[in-house]
Every structure is written in structure tokens, then in C-alpha cells.
């Protein structure tokens, strides 16, 4: 049974955005925020993750080039085919199994955007590698209040659901600021909203609040230094992390300045997590678009679901848990169900594409100026195979990229080669990343 077309009451959607808010308010604030912004529209980078592999046969188009036939999983994005690029055949070999028993899901989740084999541990020695989104954040985040924003849809209170020997951290996030610094992903729209726009007081009060935060952070630095001195070298890491966090927040307050104050006057915040999954997803994508549009950040990472996710998808008639069904055992009915989930995820993403395409930004739309990397870290999820990865790129990177084609890469070339190219398109240039061997033409 396919139950996707039930019209969601308009109010339910807005409910997510707050009891009294109306979208026009959001529109109204844009000029206030963007006024005085540079003439050349900024480039935005995004990364959206889909777990548990994908039904490759329903994803990979039969033909390469611009005139490919749309496939079932890509169907929801068909409307944007001139603004998207499909890339197939790449691999993330650090996700390959080496020997028996080595947490395939933790490994692929941890290596998606860094091409680094993660360390098997549940302890303080967590280790992956700095991810592409964070390399982007370092450059694109220079002028924005937030360097980057990390979002997710699945809360992580489920216990015992992670792989033996691997901390749940590896599947709770795919974004790493450094090898030992995983970045948490936020699921609550209210929290995201508050991070972006404060807690909604009038401008003067908000400015006073920022001033106060600054004096609080100033005085914290002293405490941290004191603690730092009193402990051994191995214990200093935590206080280093804390100190860096303090500096980041200070920097953010500085960069926010008056513009957030004007934004805060016109927006009210959302409450909690919407009851309906699709509302939650739409709202989080709305916030992602809003963060780009208000230039609060130019880098957003978004986890649609985590590896091993046990969510069932009654929305598309799949009552089995996602991870279970991904191990389809080559049964046709199971394959069809997994394909439905993959397609549904693309439908959720189409909401973002729509939003970005409809948001004017300088001489074009937000989508024109973006580069959103959509994908997963396994091809065949049944076999935990990090080969033949599904990739869709949305947007034109402000003219640096001409979208519209299906690019068939040399089979098993590193996915990191593509990540390097994608970063190039948003003016972030690296020599290498993880197991990269060069650059992938797109």
C-alpha cells in the first residue's frame, strides 16, 4: 500500500515552525539580513547521508551522459534533472572489511566523507578523520556566524543498537572536525532554530544577552587554563576541546553582531520535534535552506537516518525495520521494499531541492549557487559493500559546475576523488583526501 498522497494539513506543517509564525515573516527578514551583502552570491556546500546501502539496480541509470533515462529511485528528483548530476561506480575502500567481525556499518558511516578507516574502539581514543564538509567549513565558514551546521532526523537514545567494539558515535554522526572530534548532529528543530536566531527577544535585549555571553566566556577561559595546568598531558585534550568550543562561540558572537538581532525580531521559534516524520524532515530542510539564505552558515551536513536504523516506513508501506530489510537476501519482495525506502528518501530530499530552487539568491537561485552532495557509503547494503556508491550532486556551484548528466566513473575509483572535485567547485582546494588518487571529472 502506498500512502504518500494524504494531504498534510497546512497547519501541521506550520506547527513545526511555531505556534504563531507564518512563513511570510521569514521572507520579510531576508532583505534585512542580506542587505549590504557582497555582490557575488556566496557558494554553499551541503552533504546529505542515506544509510544501509541502496538498491543499486533501481538507482544507476542505464545510460551515461545527459540523456539518461530516469530510474525509479531518482524519479522524485526528476523535476531537477537539469540541476543535478548523478555519479556512479565509485568506491569507499576504507569501508571494506579486513577480517571477520569489524563493524561494517560503523566503518562505512565513519569513512563516508574522509576516506579513512575508523578505529575500532568504544573509548576516548575514537578516531576517524576530518571530513570534506569540515574542510569546506574552514574556508566557507570564515565570514559566517556558524562555520557549519550538523543536522539529523533520528534521535540517538536507542541503546544496544551499535556494533560490538565500536562506539555509537561512529554511526551517530558522519561529520568530524578532526580525527578525534566527532561533531554531534542535532535532531530538534527548536534547538537548531535557537542556534541560528537566538531565543527570540527584542533586539536590545538580545544585544545585551550577547554582551553577557561574551563576558561569561571571557571568564571561562581563566578557569580552563587553571584546570589545564593541574592535569597531565593526556587529560588536556578534553580541556583543549572545551577551550576551542569557547573560542568558536566567541567568534560566533562577534560575527553575529547586529544582523542576528534584526533577524530575531521577526522570527519565532519552532517547538519540539513534529509528530509526523515527513513534517520533521521538511522542517529540518526548511531550516537548512533558511540557514543558507540568511547566510548564518554556508555548510550544512544532514543525516536522513543513521546506519543500522531500525525505523520502519509505514509511509510507503514498509513495516519492516530499515536495516533488516536492507539485508534483503536477494528476495524480490524485500528488494522492492528497500527500494521504496530509498525512493522515499529522495522524495524527502526533493523538498530541499524545491526550496533552494525557489529561493532567489543574487542573479539566480540558492540551488544555482549550491553544491549538495547526496549519497550513502554503501552500494549493496545486503553485502555491506562500500562499492558502486550512489551519488547525486544538486546545484551548479555558482556556475563552476554544469549539472544535468549521469557520470559513469571508472569502476572502483575512490569516492574521495569526487569529494575533492566537489570541494574544488566551491573553491575549497585540497591536495588529497583520505585514499584519493586524483580528481574525478564531472
Amino acid at each position: 500500500m502506498f500512502v504518500t498522497k494524504t494531504a498534510l494539513p497546512r497547519r501541521t506543517v506550520l506547527r513545526g515552525i511555531g505556534a504563531t509564525v507564518a512563513l511570510p515573516f521569514l521572507d520579510a527578514m531576508v532583505p534585512a539580513v542580506r542587505a549590504g551583502a557582497a555582490a557575488l552570491p556566496a557558494k554553499r556546500f551541503g552533504a546529505i547521508y542515506m544509510p544501509n546501502g541502496m538498491i543499486v539496480k533501481d538507482f544507476v541509470p542505464a545510460e551515461a551522459g545527459r540523456n539518461y533515462t530516469i530510474t525509479p529511485i531518482l524519479k522524485p528528483l526528476e523535476k531537477f534533472r537539469n540541476q543535478m548530476t548523478v555519479v556512479t561506480g565509485l568506491a569507499n575502500k576504507p569501508g571494506d572489511p579486513l577480517d571477520a567481525g569489524s563493524g561494517p556499518h560503523s566503518r562505512v558511516s565513519g569513512c563516508w566523507l574522509n576516506g579513512v578507516r575508523v578505529k575500532r574502539t568504544e573509548n576516548a581514543d575514537l578516531s576517524a578523520g576530518r571530513t570534506a564538509d569540515q574542510f569546506a567549513a574552514e574556508v566557507l565558514g570564515k565570514e559566517t556566524p556558524l562555520r557549519s551546521l550538523e543536522l539529523a532526523l533520528e534521535p540517538n537514545f536507542v541503546v544496544g543498537g551499535c556494533e560490538g567494539g565500536y562506539s555509537c558515535t561512529y554511526i551517530n554522526t558522519f561529520s568530524w572536525a578532526a580525527a578525534n572530534r566527532p561533531l554531534p548532529m542535532e535532531t530538534n528543530p527548536a534547538v537548531v532554530f535557537e542556534r541560528l536566531f537566538g531565543d527570540g527577544g527584542p533586539g536590545a535585549a538580545r544585544m545585551a544577552g550577547l554582551r553577557r555571553d561574551r563576558s561569561i566566556l571571557d571568564s571561562l577561559t581563566g578557569d580552563l587554563a587553571r584546570l589545564q595546568k593541574s592535569v597531565g598531558p593526556s587529560d588536556r585534550l578534553t580541556m583543549d576541546e572545551y577551550l576551542d568550543a569557547v573560542r568558536d562561540v566567541e567568534r560566533r558572537i562577534q560575527a553575529t553582531g547586529a544582523r542576528a538581532a534584526s533577524a530575531a525580531e521577526t522570527i519565532e521559534k519552532p517547538f519540539g520535534i513534529p509528530a509526523v516524520f515527513e513534517d520533521h524532515s521538511n522542517l529540518m530542510f526548511d531550516l537548512m535552506a533558511l540557514a543558507y539564505r540568511t547566510d548564518m552558515t554556508r555548510v550544512v551536513s544532514f543525516q536522513l537516518a543513521r546506519e543500522l536504523s531500525l525505523r520502519s516506513y509505514p509511509e510507503v508501506g514498509v513495516s519492516e525495520a530499515h536495516h533488516d530489510i536492507s539485508h534483503h537476501g536477494n528476495r524480490a519482495e524485500n528488494i522492492e521494499k528497500k527500494s521504496k525506502i530509498d525512493t522515499y528518501h529522495m522524495k524527502l530530499i526533493s523538498h530541499l531541492a524545491e526550496k533552494l530552487a525557489n529561493t532567489p539568491d543574487g542573479d539566480g537561485s540558492l540551488l544555482d549557487h549550491s553544491m549538495i552532495l547526496v549519497g550513502g557509503s554503501m552500494g549493496d547494503g545486503n553485502m555491506h559493500s562500500p562499492h558502486n556508491l550512489p551519488v547525486v550532486l544538486l546545484g551548479g556551484a555558482g556556475g563552476a559546475h554544469k549539472p544535468g548528466a549521469h557520470v559513469r566513473a571508472t569502476f572502483d575509483d575512490p569516492f574521495m576523488n569526487l569529494c575533492l572535485t566537489v570541494l574544488d567547485k566551491v573553491d575549497v582546494h585540497l591536495d588529497s583526501l583520505g585514499d584519493s588518487t586524483g580528481r574525478q571529472e564531472i
Binding site: 505556534a19 561494517p104 576516548a124 544577552g209 513495516s319
Partner: protein, 800 residues
Amino acid sequence: MKRVVAASGLVVALMLAVPVHAAQAPAAPAETSVHQALLQKNCITCHNERNKANAGRLSLEGVDVGKPADHPEVWEKVVAKVKAGLMPPSGLPRPEATQKDAFVGYLERELDKKAAASPNPGRTETFHRLNRAEYRNAIRELFGLEMDVTPYLPADDASYGFDNIAGVLKISQSRLEQYLSAARRISRAALGTAPPAPASYEYRVKESAHQNERAEGLPFGTRGGLLFRHDFPQDAEYELRVDLMCRLGGECDGSVGFPDEHTLLVLIDGERVTSFTLEPRKDMRPPQERTWKLRLPLSAGSHAIGVTFLKLPSIREIDSVIERFDRPYFLNGVIGQPNNTIYQPYLDVVTVVGPFNAKGPGHAAVRQRLVTCTPKTKAEQEPCARSIVAKLARRAYRRPVAAADLDPIMEVYRSEAKDAGFDVGLEAAVTRLLVSPEFLYRVEKDRPTAKPGTNYRLTDIELASRLSFFLWSSIPDEALLRAAETGQLSTPAGLEQQVRRMLADRRSNELIENFAGQWLMLRNLDAQRPDMPKFPNFDDSLRASARRETELFFGSVLRENRSVMELLSADYTFVDGRLAKHYGMPKIYGTQFQRVKLTGNRSGLLGHASILTVTSRPNRTSPVLRGKWILDNILGTPAPDPPANVPPLKEDEAGTQNKMPSVRERMASHRANVVCAGCHSMIDPLGFALENFDAVGQYRTMDESKKPVDASGTLPDGSKFDGFAGFRQMLLREPEIFSTTVTKKMMIYALGRGLEPTDMPAVRQIVRDAKPGGLKLSALVAGVVKSVPFQMRRAGAAAQ
């Protein structure tokens, strides 16, 4: 490895009963050769260097069985597997029981002897960030605030099955921003400062909540609705906005009205303050109004707000017919789809907006508790603020504080109070305190006198924190802090008295909620979404009742000083009306839980709907999940990881889909395949034992494929069982196995780190000490508290 024992370590060693065999002479060569022969005959065929990869990455070649203490990481594995009867695997030759016992006994003795001579308490990270639950409880303890800040706190990553593991509780910019924002919110509420603008707080009915019964805490004769407590910051006017489900509103597609008149009640602190009448619409057209507003003056402080419907007698009959599917957010088998076909109105959201026309912070209990002095002159202000901050800091930092602790906070006070006055300054100071690393982290610094790699005993102050975070998931209370300051925790009697007091205190419910909630995976119930068409009765109230049952049960074993084995064997449990109906128990109604005697099919934890549900798939039982769960949580020997590349099952390749195979038929394929059989012959039979319970824990005699349930099986050690009762008897035969598992899990939770092989002697000691008293669960808790790893710590690399 250094063999240094600091002198202070001996003090604790004395507190602990030295194992009787510790003084025995080294193993005689003759004894060693017997064990070596057993290894050769029963183990090394698989566990050798060449075959290691296929044998759980364990080789027993080249390790001297004469000196187990040299390789605890190898021999502790051997002890666990052999003791639980999981090795040698079924079908392979096994040593005689006496031989096996002698072998395991020998290994344990040798390992324990080494530990007694040179204990290794291990080392929890120096900085241990409070997790969400701990932070929330600390705030309640510090301010007496009702507000739940958890939605605004960063979520915690879990390791080793628990979310309080020091090593992975990290900080980052986004987390610090969340802490800052929570701190602002809390200090504002504690002082009763007006928010910068009228704020709104939304309280929402949960998506799958049944709304046809009386909700807990609301008056009899009402139907559904919400009851919540809210902290009102000031004496002021507040607006309550009540929204009904959207199907009643004009904006909803296909919405309908309802044929009867309904009355909506608003209650404040149990008193009915107003009611609204919803006019019937016989034509079933939606009513004009969907939102009701009420503005009323309220005093600052916490008030209970209730919003509910009067229950109509006439509805009752219809209830029984459609009750099963009648849920506001359930349509066509999809949870979360608004149901537009329901014949009566439901509450959706209550929003509290305010304050308006604020008259000041009033006399809210929360403020009075914090602001313990009232400065009359400007000159009195700063000393007053300082005394407030000092009191708060002592509790928040969980230790005596010095001027150096207070000065940076008072600096913030001064810079804010200068222009904006006492209240604003104090609010900033409280905010500052709440983002201090000494509040957000439990800090255990190495003793300056302890050389790197040596052991030292924790101070009483540090011990107090370990105790309160273990037993209460919170900061020490005044009594505990005082006991620590006066040295009472260093005496066995003083320590025991505190443990007893703390377990009796209701705050120890946190141990049940957080420890048992994670060990037994009760928390996962919230995320479990049983397939609606198959299990239409599964809803939020059943979810809540199932969880409550296990919590009450665990609590009763803990507080009534019962044996830990009763967790598996007890012939009693706790049910409310909802759960009784689910279990098929007659004549139990209402939302009150009562203790009931079990007859028949259920007894112990393994018969609880909670556990049976979280170990199932949404649409069917899973003997694999249940088997894995039992291996990990009951037998204490987690299943090995699945192989790197699972070959597709034969029958899958053929694509046989003609009929639904029974669970057992599906499982048979696991064991037909040689790569899978090694583990699944261990895992699956454990799960079969529970096959008489379906995916939501209801008793059944026919399985998903409409075949009679076959709950028989063979354990790896060859013993056969038929059904749950027989299986349970087998688990009870060797109490040491289960009690060791519980102790291990509790140690991880209590220490906030994973266990090392060197921790196992301490675990065995705890079990051994509890044995004469009948393995009481409370004795295991006390044993953890008294153990070397809990009382001591190993110093890390030197400070520079």
C-alpha cells in the same frame, strides 16, 4: 607492566575480604600439565595461530597456562566462555564437568591471586561530562526547578551499552552553545526574571497516545488530555491556548465535526478554573472554532495545568467497537497520519504564553530557595550575591569551594550588576556557574603525590560524587557531601550506611531508570514501532505500562533485598489495567499498578512485554535478536561479530517465495550454512525458548506462519529444554553466571568506562562476597561501591 602498589592501595585492599585462596602456593607443575592437556584436546584444534581469524581472534598457542596472570586478556575470555557453557561449541568433544570446573577454578584462582597481590583499579577519564539525565537531575537538586531542560541539551553518544561513558562524552561548539542556552533558561527561571519577551511553551499530546481513557493524574470521568507542570517565572498574567486536533479545523481536508456536545475542562493545581463547550455539529461539518484562549493571573512558581474532556457516557459503547483503531494519529495502518474520521474532538496542544503585565518575581519557592539574603543597601549587594554563589558553587562543584573558584564568577556578577542591578548580575553569575567546567564535568585529578602508573585511593569528596552519580545519576545531596567532608565515607560502616540511605531514597529510581533502562534496553521501547495492522493494541500507554512493569519489578528486587536470581525466577510482577489486559489477566482495571502473583507462563524478566518487544522486529519475533540479547545480558558473553562477508543464504538465491517460512525454517538456514552455524547454533536456540511470546510479548501457541510454536532447543553444552519454563530452570542452575553478568554491567555503569580483563577479579570478588547472603541485588550494588576499581584509581602520566 609495572608492579607497583602505592601504600594507600593497601588500605583499601584491607577493607576487602582477601580471597581465601589468595595465599595458596603457585600451581604445581602436575596441575598445569592436566590443564595443558585439556587445552590441547578441547581448544587448540580451533584456537591456534593459523586459525585465529575464524576462532574469535583468539589463539591459545604460545600462552602459558601455567601463568594465566601474564595474559589476563586471553584467559578471562576463556573463563567467560567455558563457564557459560558456550565453549567448546556444540557437537565438539567436551571435557567432563569436573575437569571443566577444575580448569576454570584454576584459572580464576591464578588471576585473582595476581590481582590481590597487585590490584589494578583502572582509570576512568579525568574529565567526565555529565550526561543529559545527570544534568537534569543536578538542576533539580540545585534549584528545585521542575522544568525539563533535556530537549535543549545535547544528546549523548553511547559506548558499552551505556550513555555515561566518560571517554566518548565530548564537547563541541554546538554543545557548548546548548549548555549556554540551557544555563540562561535555568538561571532566568530560578530567579524569576522576566524573559526578554513573552515566551511560549508548547505541551503536546503524544502522537500515538490513546485519548479515550482517563489520563494519569486527571479527574475521574474525564477523557484524554494533558497534565503537566510549568514553572511560571513571575507574578503575572499568562495565556493558555488550547488547540484541538486539526481535523476539526477548517484548514483540514476531509475534516468532520462530531454529533455530541463536548466539554473541555481547564484545571490549575487540580482546581477547575474554566470549561468550554463545544457545540455539536449534527451535519458533521467542522466547527468554526478550534483554538480556545484563556488569560488568567498566576503567581510565580510551579503550577500543574490540566486540560481534558468530560467523558460522555454514550460514547462508551462505540468505544469497544472501534477502540482498537481509534487514535488521533493513526490512519490506514500508518502512525503519524492524522486520522480524520474520528467522531469526537481530541486535544492537540496546550501553549502557555507569558508573562504579560508582570508584577515581579513574587515569592516563588524556587527563588526563595536560591536568594537567601535581601540586600537593603547597595553596599550589601555584592556580599549577598557572593554568599549565594558560594552556597550554590559548593553543591554544583560537589566540593568545598575557595575564593579562586568564586572570583571569576563574581567578576561576571560585577560587570552585569554595574548597570543592570542585583538581579541581573546574579542571573549572569548563575549562568556562568552552570557552564563552568567544574560543574559540567566530574573531575578526578591524579593525586599529586601518586607516581604515574601507581594506584591511589580517591578522596572522600571524590567518592561522594562517584556514589551519587552511580546511585542517583545526580550530584551529592547535603547529607552525603557532609558525610564526605567529615571523613565518614572512609569507614566501612559509614559507607554502608550512606549506600543504604541512598538506595532507600526515591532518587535511586534513577538507577533503575538509567541502569536497568539501558542494561535491559527498556529505553528502546520508545523507538520501537510494532507493525500497527498486526499489533493494533500496541500504543503509548501500553509502551509506558510495559516499561513501568520492569522498572517496578527491578526496584522491588533491589529494595526488598531479594536475590538477583529472582530477576529471572520471580513468580510475581506488577501490572496495571492496560498491561493486565495485554497479559490476559482478568479483573484488573485502571492505571494503578498492583503486585500480582504469576501463575502459568510468565515469570521473571524474560516474560516481560518490555523485553520481549525490544528484542523483536516490528512485524515478527526474532530468535536471533532475543538470543543475542540473552547471550549479552543474561549469560554475559556477547555473540561474536558476524563474519566480514555473509554469503547469501541458499534458499534466497533460489528465491523461494511461494509460502511464508516459519521462523524456525528461516533459522534452520543459518545453521545449514557452515560460516553461520558456528555462532547461530549458539544464538538461535536461546531465542527459540521465548517463541511462545509474540513480538509485543503476548502469549501464543501459533507463530507468524500459523504453525504451532515449537519452543524447544538444545544449548551448546548439549542440554535440551522444552519451552520457556525448562529454559529458565537451566539459567537458574548456575547462579554465578547471571550474577556475574549483572555485576559486570553495573561496574561499567558505575565507573563510566568499559571493563578491562584486569577488572574481572574485582567482579568475581563482589559475587563471591554476596554469595553467603544469597546473592542479593542490593549486596551486588554495595559490592561495586566497595570494590577496588570504584574506590581507587591509577595515576596517569605526570603533570608538567
